[in-house]
Symmetry: C2
Subunit: 542 residues, 2 copies
Amino acid sequence: MGEQLPNRWWGWGTPRRPQELPSAARELLRERLGVEQPAAPAVDPEAIEVPEPEPLPEAIAAAVGDEQVRTGRIARLRHAAGKSYPDLIRMRDGAPEALADGVVSPANSAELAAVLEACARERVAVIPFGGGTSVVGGVTPLRGEHGRAISLDLGRMRAVEVDPLSLVARLGPGLPGPEAERRLRERGFVLGHYPQSFERATIGGFAATRSAGQASSGYGRFDSLVTAVSMVAPAGRLSTRETPHSAAGPALRELVLGSEGVLGVIDEVAVRVRPVPASRRYEGWMAPSFAEGMQTFRRLAQADALPDVLRLSDESETSVSTAISGIGKAARAAFDTYLKLRRRHHGCLMICGWEGEPERVASRAAATARMLRRDGAIALGGAPGRSWLHGRYRGPYLRDLLIDAGAMVETLETAHSWTRLSELYAAVGGAIGAAMETQGTPGLVLCHVSHVYRDGASLYFTWICAARQGAEIEQWRAIKSAACEAIVGAEGTITHHHAVGTDHSPYMKAEISELGVEALRALKGRLDPAGVMNPGKLLPPG
Amino acid sequence: MGEQLPNRWWGWGTPRRPQELPSAARELLRERLGVEQPAAPAVDPEAIEVPEPEPLPEAIAAAVGDEQVRTGRIARLRHAAGKSYPDLIRMRDGAPEALADGVVSPANSAELAAVLEACARERVAVIPFGGGTSVVGGVTPLRGEHGRAISLDLGRMRAVEVDPLSLVARLGPGLPGPEAERRLRERGFVLGHYPQSFERATIGGFAATRSAGQASSGYGRFDSLVTAVSMVAPAGRLSTRETPHSAAGPALRELVLGSEGVLGVIDEVAVRVRPVPASRRYEGWMAPSFAEGMQTFRRLAQADALPDVLRLSDESETSVSTAISGIGKAARAAFDTYLKLRRRHHGCLMICGWEGEPERVASRAAATARMLRRDGAIALGGAPGRSWLHGRYRGPYLRDLLIDAGAMVETLETAHSWTRLSELYAAVGGAIGAAMETQGTPGLVLCHVSHVYRDGASLYFTWICAARQGAEIEQWRAIKSAACEAIVGAEGTITHHHAVGTDHSPYMKAEISELGVEALRALKGRLDPAGVMNPGKLLPPG
């Protein structure tokens, strides 16, 4: 029996709750966005025309064993795309942008090195694949100028080794988030890295894309947790010392982090871990407005009084998310009470979370509460916090349902200094809104702040509108481009934590200057002289 | 009237207190180290043979103005070396390792770019020079394969621009530490970066060498304060976005930081600043032993209870530093009382400092005190803390006096995970001690921990022995090499905050792997194709 595809194989996958859209969401789609027509059902994968794979060099099978080179249609379809909106649409339509000729799974660094060597020699493109959750085109098996391509599945490289005195763990790149967390917890530790993709994404992907998690204000972004990395490139191995810090020249660790598979394959990451928190506390709060909530977050950060998790939804997201994604009945009741008491139509939902020793959690929460109250925020109690925690990974499942219903839903994120954050917020939100109008599909723009620093914060945008059925990709591209141009115009970063892939590569010159791009090309030229590593990603075309 | 050289021009400079060695120090040199013979006096600079400079391309003077190209003997001597022990010995002897053909001082980035362009075209080596305080050979005007060299003095590029909302300051590379601090304080902010070289070192140097300051546990290492950088290279300008964070590929900011002038010249650094602390509190403590003190520091770091400044001297440093550098009478009395009370011969001095809001300083100090007491440390009160603070920049002045007296004194630093820190301590201390013996000059090895992280800490070694007069450089090289080999053998970092320069470049392959070195060479090849930027530094020979 061969591999099988799960339900909703084209999307995030078999849905957990909600199995279907809440009625309020269906109503919102119909009444606010004019979404009447559900999307055409996803094609039967058996009906997808999958061309015969090109034969791969024998040296690859010699390196990993015959059974670790899979060339069947299901394996190739499962590695054909990430989880961006265009990926999902293409897969639903049975029209993947690209297919690898085989899926290759090395068991260890030596096998990995042998595979890369063979691919460089034989000019076979190599697309590293962890959890396949890229939302920027990072794992699409583009082959560039090469005649053949493999998807390099790292799923067998899942080592965990803990140094309990230094609080450092060495992790294999193929470890999925939940497995890494479980195996660390068995030893008494946590990584504290919980991006929305947590259930499927992998350690190597977190490192290669500079992932940020929902608790990154407290635990640190993934890149800030990394103390050392090792990477196998076609030209050899690059590794950095496992010491807490060094002044020995440019930090090559920071070159490997974010390299998105275009320089080589990360085969080990040493990360700082923490003891399992003894307690956690999550609360909902309501800020008078988004602008005022942002100022409060700035003050918290600059007073070193940040919770470990904090989020602030803008007015739109607050009202929509209570309706469609469901923050829980208790939260909605508290929210309604708040609005009534204040005779207001608006308010902005904040989620604050603390983890650690109970005493410290209590004193930190109290300190934050004082500052929140001083700034006019109102406590909604623990229910919205727990509800958020419970639903923290639900977004991508919900997206599948919205697409089924006939909507387009997409997210993107950026960041800026406090001084320019409001300008960025207005520019990007305005650009997305205008682009949806231009497409004839006026829609909603939602935004929240989810990562807060002393000098600035991230903005995470969601847009929802009716999908132009049959023309979704062009529609998406027009809106996405408008958003990206607005980000570049306001000098924000093109991505705070989704990485570059194919979608953001045209904006890299603006991001790191033309010479910065040239510097990366020079690096790639040395580490991957045959240019087989993940063609078409990260670096701008041409 | 031309430029004049100050007293002690060959060393750190005109001494502040002490003007001469304390008698206890003289006694220690004589009785413990057999130092009898003072060093020969430094040569009269007028007697130094300074060869005629090679004529420089006219385009350089055209870029900066005639008066900003100085070719006089004093200017060239002042830019002939940094402040390493071998630098000082060579300058005392009137035998600088190298001299530039001129000292060039651009006023701004445009002039800087024009100078680099001219130098690349005409093949003139460029050695960036900030405060000239490198202790690893970083500013020696080596010309490599080129016939001419300039020392590029950044002293005119001293802009300060503050964003008080985002708490970010844009600083020019030529700003000396005290001027940066004074101009930020006028606006209500501090950088909090206080390396021992503070009085002379510059912002550009802090960035180019990944400097760490005495308060880096609290304020952060210099590299962690930087939010964006701009660099002018012969091939153009490389700049990064001024946003709090980004996932847009490898962090090029981290390539510019630590680049030591071999890729280009940093012309602006955006750094996170903090409000001027309302209060500060410094205390002395005594740990039962170095090993136990290190464990205490680890527990403090891992409990997020670190003071902003903390240092722990080993047994040797504790006893010697109370004698020779003077921690103050009150501290010495407390120390003696402690030893008597405990009927001990040993104990290890700790300095702890907190800065910020008075309430917070008090509560943090109390939390630290609880942990210190639990681990058997004894409070010595505020006097040793204040004394340390008062003398924090005294070390380099003292070094001049020790050299005058006939001693060799040198420092080096490394870092490792907690798990391997004791192994590193024993290996490096043992190697230095044995090498001094082999040189026929048995001496003292002192060590302290000064930078503490969750996953490890730095070790800062000082060695003192009799100088083999006339053969100091060979003697130094033998001992230094032994120390470096021991660091590499224990897989520590070759430098925690002194950078690479010429002295550590042979160990870069061990530090970042052979392919890492090749990656840096590829970068340099693209940014500085003519190879004029700071030849002979950072990258290993060959």
